[in-house]
Symmetry: C3
């Protein structure tokens, strides 16, 4: 198992970490499956469009509209209920095929860390399994 | 690994693909786990109610209300930011138990492809692992 | 494979089931991966903040605001479209690392069953895989 470290720099941010994940896949794993886990409750991992930064903007803007930082009915003292709700909806676990030693993503896809309560030091756990040929 | 091909016919659509997945599970895999991955950024995979088409209608209608195609603050040129946001929230990866050679789903559940920017030709990747008995 | 049984007691409820899952991990699985599957269409599983009950309140309150039980455009006879939509967005499948025989969660994380149409008897399927050392 590998553990990636990602330093985020904004309060909310979507960061493509596909390259770090590919670098963590052992060279001997030609074909297999890569399990990714985000051990945080106010950050998440997802697969989304990697090419156009405007897509990341639009995702974060829509999430902020649906789940604003303040609501009259929030009870949690920490003030980051919105971050927890966003992280839960985006998700903490992914399982992605490995092909020829790299994530077998679609041409537009990147695996992204979603920061919802930053900036912070975040981690992503990477577990790779070989498939029987 | 198998790759399913699904031709969608609507702009937004939920299609039960459980039968195609079951057909892709090797006959020798009595018990195991089936990993599914959707390699698109404007389509997704999920598990939901397969019996009543009205549930699919209600899901798509609610998602359209929450995440309409046009918002004053969307920046992405492609015009399909809503499809990307919906796909990210629904998700691209599932891991489902295999029992007696088929997906071990609940009685109401179907594995569904969610088209959010169709019609298009879509794929779903299927990786099955045997469990040690 | 193990199957957890959880009796929910509210219409909507978030229940930390991490202890039951840890108890279902075989003692021989020092390091590995734990696949969890929720075989229901109106309940879901997720990883979220386990410490403060107010976070669970805020999550459920926000989901109710975004996806209320009644909408003029819902067609489904069962009256529980909201529960299906919430369950689909929260998700039915998780894959979590196992370390030293337990779920390798972050310090704030708990694996939670999300009831959206209770009270009911719910199940969660648990499949553990050893990793090659």
């Amino acid at each position: 198992m590998a553990e990636l470290k990602i330093e985020t720099s904004e309060a909310t941010e979507i960061i493509d970490i596909s390259k770090q994940i590919n670098a963590a896949i052992p060279a001997s794993f030609s074909n297999g499956i890569c399990h990714l886990f985000c051990p945080h409750t106010s950050a998440a991992i997802t697969v989304t469009e990697k090419m156009d930064p405007d897509v990341k903007h639009d995702i974060l803007a829509k999430l902020d509209k649906l789940i604003p930082n303040r609501e009259s009915y929030y009870l949690h003292d920490g003030g980051n209920s919105a971050a927890h709700i966003k992280a839960m909806l985006v998700g903490s676990s992914l399982s992605i095929p490995i092909k020829n030693g790299n994530l077998d993503l679609g041409p537009w896809q990147g695996v992204c860390l979603c920061e919802f309560d930053g900036p912070r030091a975040r981690k992503v756990k990477v577990i790779c399994q070989k498939l029987e040929e």
